[in-house]
């Protein structure tokens, strides 16, 4: 089994880790780095609970190898707020009660963040299809969609 020494930028900080060839980024984050904010719901790319942002793209960390992220920029849920200041998406999720058990929330927040960076003014349909890769069993998605649309509006207002 080959072992790899990797340096990546995670939430703006340079991080070194070693991993086995067969370890996914999800395993590295949770087990090697103890960054447990990224969740494991299925391990096969079907639930989106492990969504992180890799070089600007929202992807499933369970489908990326730890060995291949040398030099990459990774954003996880732990880096979404700035100090104690919540990102507008995080704030709106609280305001809209867009979480019940909260296990899907970190993944959905990352997907939504990447979505709004590409499309700052999405329709409800675009939000729903953009979130199709994130399963939520508690909320029925209604309040999640409202929270994302409201955050998008606020972020647009902040830009102008």
């Amino acid at each position: 089994m080959s072992k790899h020494l990797v340096t990546a930028t995670i939430n703006g900080d340079e991080v070194d880790f070693t991993c086995h060839a067969d370890q996914t980024l999800l395993e590295v984050l949770r087990e090697n780095l103890l960054m447990t904010g990224t969740k494991n719901g299925c391990g096969s790319g079907d639930c989106g609970a492990c969504t992180v942002i890799l070089d600007g793209r929202a992807i499933n960390a369970c489908l990326v190898l730890g060995a291949e992220v040398d030099g990459a920029e990774i954003e996880t849920i732990e880096g979404m707020s700035k100090g104690n200041e919540l990102h507008p998406l995080q704030q709106k999720f609280l305001d809209h009660a867009a979480l019940q058990c909260g296990i899907c929330t970190p993944g959905i927040l990352n997907t939504a963040k990447a979505l709004l960076e590409k499309n700052p003014n999405p329709t409800e349909t675009e939000v729903r299809f953009g979130l199709a890769g994130n399963l939520c069993r508690c909320t029925g998605y209604d309040k999640i969609v409202r929270a994302v649309m409201d955050a998008a509006a606020e972020m647009r207002a902040n830009q102008s």
Binding site: H20, D22, R30, L34, M35, T36, G37, T38, K39, N40, G41, C42, G43, S44, D46, C47, A49, T76, I77, E78, M80, S81, L86, Q90, F93, L94, D95, H96, A97, L99, Q100, C101, G102, I103, C104, T105, P106, L109, T125, V127, R128, F129, L131, A132, G133, N134, L135, C136, R137, C138, T139, G140, Y141, D142, K143, I144, V145, R146
Partner: protein, 759 residues
Amino acid sequence: MNEIKNDAKTNYKWVGKRTRRPDGPDKVTGRARYGDDMVMAGMLFGKVLRSPHAHAKILSIDTSKAEALKGVKAVVTHKDIPEHAPLQPPYGPVIADLHDISRNVMARDKVLYDGHPVAAVAATSERIARQALKLIEVEYEVLPHVLDPLEAAQPDAPVLHEDQFTHGIEPAPEKPSNVFRVVSSERGDLDKGFAEADVIVEREFRTQPVHQGYIEPQALIASASEDGAVELWTTTQGHFVIRAFCARVLKMDMATIRVTASEIGGGFGGKNNVYAEPVAIRLSQKTGRPVRMVMTRDEVFRGTGPASGTYSHIRMGAKKDGTIVAVEAEIYNQAGAFKGSPVGRSLDSFISSYTVENVRATAYDVCVNRPKVAAYRAPGAPMATLPAELAINELAEKLGMDPIDMRIKNAVGDGGQSLNGVKYGHIGLMEVLERAKNHDHYKAPLGANQGRGFALGYWMHGGGLSSVVANLLDDGTVAIATGNPDIGGSRSSMRAMAAEELGVDLETIKPIVADTGSMGYSHLTAGSRTTFATGMAVINSVQEIIEKLRALAAKKWDIPVDEVTWEAGQAVTQRDGIEALTLKQLAGMATKMGGAIAGHSEINAGGAGAAFCAQIVDVEVDPETGFVAPKRYTVIQDVGRAVSPDYVEGQMQGGAVQGIGWALNEEYIYDDKGRLQNTGFLDYRMPVASDLPMIDTVIVEVPNPNHPYGVRGVGEPPLVPAPAAVASAVENAAGIKAASLPLSPPKVLDAMERAHGEG
């Protein structure tokens, strides 16, 4: 659009307001710790070896090669789990048989389903643990298996338990059976009733097992100490119940096991049981190290319990004026590998919302070679509500009557009771039906290939044991500990009720969920009982603090305590010249004037209130493919009082969407060897965001007179009518009669062709 109709005029300061939940920031930042987010130094990794056969005798288990593998520290088989005698009759409504539970945790002489645990190992890494499983040699004698409850009930079916004889039939049988029991309820005169009917409908249904679908797999760490004490961290809906199960299964003293509930990533009833906990404790005892065990998604589907699949048959008769005069219904519930499906609740759900004079209902609890079923949001109710509600809709159609009018005509009133004699008390059924009938959705025009469905559901939530401890701190803040894991925002509601009672700001109250070592027994966060029962215990605890504060003020003022009242967060008296004392002031004095002030309450809450939920659903069917798209959905529910309206709405929306999945796409698919084929979210198809419209909610509040704030349980009713409402909409959109869930596209297409001729 979400509306709240406040039938009780009282305007509270916190109860009923949309407030920020206390655990919110931790959950949106990834800080909150769920089952798999805990680490303990030196921890080992445990993995379970599972049966690849649906039904087989275990002839031998050889773990020697696994034990010899470098890095493996211990192995557990049934030899390490104590034997338990079977539960003896009489049997209550809920079965908890240690003989069964211990066998479900680890198979003894037989494996009874694909996924049944056979052995477990603990090793220094997950990789080594998985390797070790491959080295365990199990010799099986494969037996014929049975998956369908009707087939399993036949006399020639393969028998799962040679020592199980059907209860509830006369004469007592001598041949073992997969049918554990038959329960039935009867009233009136069925023949006379049907004779009076002007129209009779007869329907048959099949439903598939559906999994609760929580996104967080089961996960735990067990750590056993040499002095016998065990610490257990686990994701669960009830850590006191887990403690009890572990202690009983392993024959340990309960107090030696201290369970901390992690944050929970969904449960819906599926995390009320033990699976790996006793095994992990054993592995930890053998190794002297903490052992972490986390299920893969594959294991969750193969090894944990879904809701029962069913076969049901109903015959219903009504008079021209819409009065339902007779109902005859039966349902076969799959229990999975061990007895105990919720047959009593199924019986209760056939006609629970209606007064019908002549009824006979029968339910069969049938073992099949599938995972042992577990509770799922109103266990037993959705699958019995389905045949009843679709039969009523068909009767209404034949009589040319509006479906909601037909419900109104037959609606049960205050003082009504269920088939099993559960009394309803004061209920809000009529209010719910009126709101449904007058809702915009009910009148909105439908487009091409669209259809509308209506269904009504009933659920009587639980009460039960809850304990709470409330401590007043020196600075006037209040720490409240409950024993109920917070699945959906209950800490918010506890805080609101406490703040309301005390008359202080929300931020004064800090709610936590404490471990089993810190306080008295609390039953599960389940059965829609938490806001109701634990809420009452919170209120009692805070009232005890108020009594002590009044006494303290009286002492300070040197006046009789009955001249002191508590108003808006202060002790006040009518006496001249005495200024009121605030909570903060009194708190600062307490320890100098007698001692710390605390309140606690251990109750067995009674006085649950029946709840009713009506749903209106529009779907659109693609006539060339059978694809069904939900287009509009409205949930109207009597919640008694919405303590935290945001979260009440969330329960209504979440339950409705689970119902959509149940009705349209969720099912277990087995091969001819009885092995589960869809063990992941790819082929176990739960609704995704793009499948759905917004779910509109109408909160009706007809307060429950038995709760200080009028609360009725809110979590379960939204799922009860949902599969029926969606199925009814599909029937109307496609012009078909639904006979089997899920109404997946091939079934709908096929039914449309048979109904309309070649498509």
